[in-house]
């Protein structure tokens, strides 16, 4: 079953009619299946974050059609869509705002009117999935960068989303935390759309990669195939993942 269907999506900061406006996306098409992990790559300013924000309804749709699960992206569907789709911010500090990890993870289920037992269950199961259950009573500000990222993922998991959007998840993580995050992401069953220019990270977490440039998906295919295509990557201001460039040069 398809979880995400984007048809002819266009977006301009300002207004579409405005010629001087910044055309970020134009007639973008993308299709994602349930449970699929897709890496969204593209150089700085390609519009990756913009696309993710459109999919969560943080930016208003201008042109095109987006279907999330069976819901069409519209104001009146936003509440339903947001129980299907979860967004993990690039900056975990802006995502976490309650005082303790548990309170933050319980925030969403609480808003959907669950009972206290259900909330506890949902929060604990989300925390278990990211191996943070023993840190549930920690103050947010006492978490390390890696732990904050995991807590942020848990806040999204606690509503049982089917599609997780992650914006640059590996930024500012040290190698150990990065490996840990890769392992945890690979354990999670739902679909993921991971925007990143850390191509090694994308290779380790995604089976499929789409390349965003000029406001469109210009390449779409198996991760290995796209991430080893030196010419294609360099054409779009990207470089081969380190793991491949080493293999090739030796």
């Amino acid at each position: 079953m398809s979880i995400l269907e984007i048809e002819d999506l266009s977006f301009t900061y300002g207004s579409l009619r405005n010629k001087a406006g910044n055309h970020v996306l134009s007639n973008l098409n993308l299709h994602m299946e349930d449970g699929e992990s897709v890496g969204l790559i593209g150089e700085n300013g390609a519009g990756k974050s913009t696309l993710l924000k459109l999919l969560t309804g943080l930016l208003d749709m201008q042109e095109g059609k987006v279907l999330v699960s069976e819901f069409e992206m519209k104001k009146e569907n936003l509440n339903k869509i947001r129980t299907v789709i979860g967004y993990v911010f690039q900056d975990s500090d802006s995502q976490l705002f309650m005082s303790t990890v548990y309170e933050d993870v319980a925030f969403a289920p609480r808003n959907y009117g669950k009972s206290e037992e259900e909330i506890y269950e949902a929060a604990m199961s989300a925390l278990k999935k990211v191996h943070m259950e023993d840190k549930k009573d920690r103050q947010i500000y006492r978490l390390s960068g890696g732990e904050k990222k995991l807590a942020a993922i848990a806040t999204v998991l606690s509503v049982g989303v089917k599609l997780m959007l992650l914006d640059e998840p590996s930024v500012a993580l040290d190698p150990k935390n990065r490996r840990n995050l890769i392992r945890i992401l690979n354990e999670l069953p739902g679909a993921k759309l991971i925007a990143s220019h850390d191509l090694d990270f994308v290779y380790d977490t995604c089976e499929r990669v789409v390349l965003l440039s000029d406001g469109k998906i210009t390449a779409d295919g198996e991760a290995k195939k796209i991430l080893t295509d030196k010419e294609l990557l360099e054409q779009h201001g990207l470089e081969l993942p380190l793991s491949f460039s080493r293999k090739i040069s030796f």
Binding site: R82, T83, S94, Q95, N111, R142
Partner: protein, 255 residues
């Protein structure tokens, strides 16, 4: 460390102390808020010359500070600005009210002096009692208790948001002043010429951060109300707490 990072650390520390597992922290927030309010109301209700009466109420603070193992030094350090302000409220009284109350040796004590000191103690006690509540109860729990006491939703939401955004705002100030001082060694404070840009930047950046936090909240189903719930359930010891303190405070007020 500068003053701003001190302020941030203090806020976080107070949050953390509130989450500790002392007996006072373990009491349900509603009884604590209720007793705090009774204490403040009763303390304020004393006549303006009734200094001994007000001082008697101090028993509540002494008992809780000792039993709750709460540092008075930290109270003075953290609340010094507020306490100072409270002390200044009655400062003009001695000039208006010159009626002689009694003599202490050669010193004549006027009504104004007594009422100034009484007012000062009322203020200090009210601030200390609020502080006591804050270091033993998390902001979420206080807001929960306020809602339970039928404080308007709007008010509690604003309180909650102000508290959250204040930390963001302080952090942003810190980040900017850090970046500034690192590139302006040997300067004390920020040069007046860049104040304008700094303040403008600060505003824009804080708005950006606030927007992010707000986005994160709406994405998770927030629609204008914090659904506050308390993990603790009110039990026998909580009722006892309210009962004992109400009795004690009312008795102290009566005699």
């Amino acid at each position: 460390m500068n003053r701003i990072s001190d302020a941030i650390v203090d806020l976080h520390k107070m949050d953390m102390e509130a989450g500790k597992c002392g007996w006072l922290q373990g009491i349900h927030p509603l009884p604590k808020l209720f007793v705090t309010l009774i204490f403040i109301l009763l303390t304020v209700s004393f006549g303006k010359y009734d200094l001994p009466g007000v001082l008697k109420m101090g028993i509540y603070l002494i008992i809780l500070f000792v039993l709750g193992d709460i540092s008075v030094k930290l109270l003075l350090k953290r609340m010094k600005a507020v306490l100072l302000l409270v002390c200044l409220v009655g400062i003009a009284n001695p000039f208006f009210d010159r009626e002689v109350m009694f003599r202490l040796g050669t010193v004549t004590v006027t009504g104004g002096m007594v009422s100034a000191v009484t007012l000062m103690f009322k203020g200090i006690f009210a601030v200390s009692a609020s502080y006591l509540l804050m270091v033993t109860t998390s902001m979420e729990d206080i807001c929960y208790a306020l809602r339970k006491m039928h404080m308007p939703k709007m008010f509690v939401t604003v309180l909650m948001l102000v508290y959250r955004y204040m930390i963001l705002f302080l952090k942003e100030i810190q980040r900017m002043t850090d970046a500034y001082t690192l590139r302006a060694p040997g300067q004390k404070g920020v040069h007046y010429k860049v104040w304008g840009t700094m303040v403008g930047q600060l505003l824009l950046r804080s708005m950006d951060r606030a927007q992010n936090v707000y986005d994160s909240m709406t994405l998770r189903g927030y629609n204008g109300e914090f659904h506050l719930r308390c993990k603790k359930r009110a039990g026998g010891s909580d009722y006892l707490y309210v009962f004992v303190w109400s009795m004690v405070l009312v008795c102290v007020r009566m005699i």
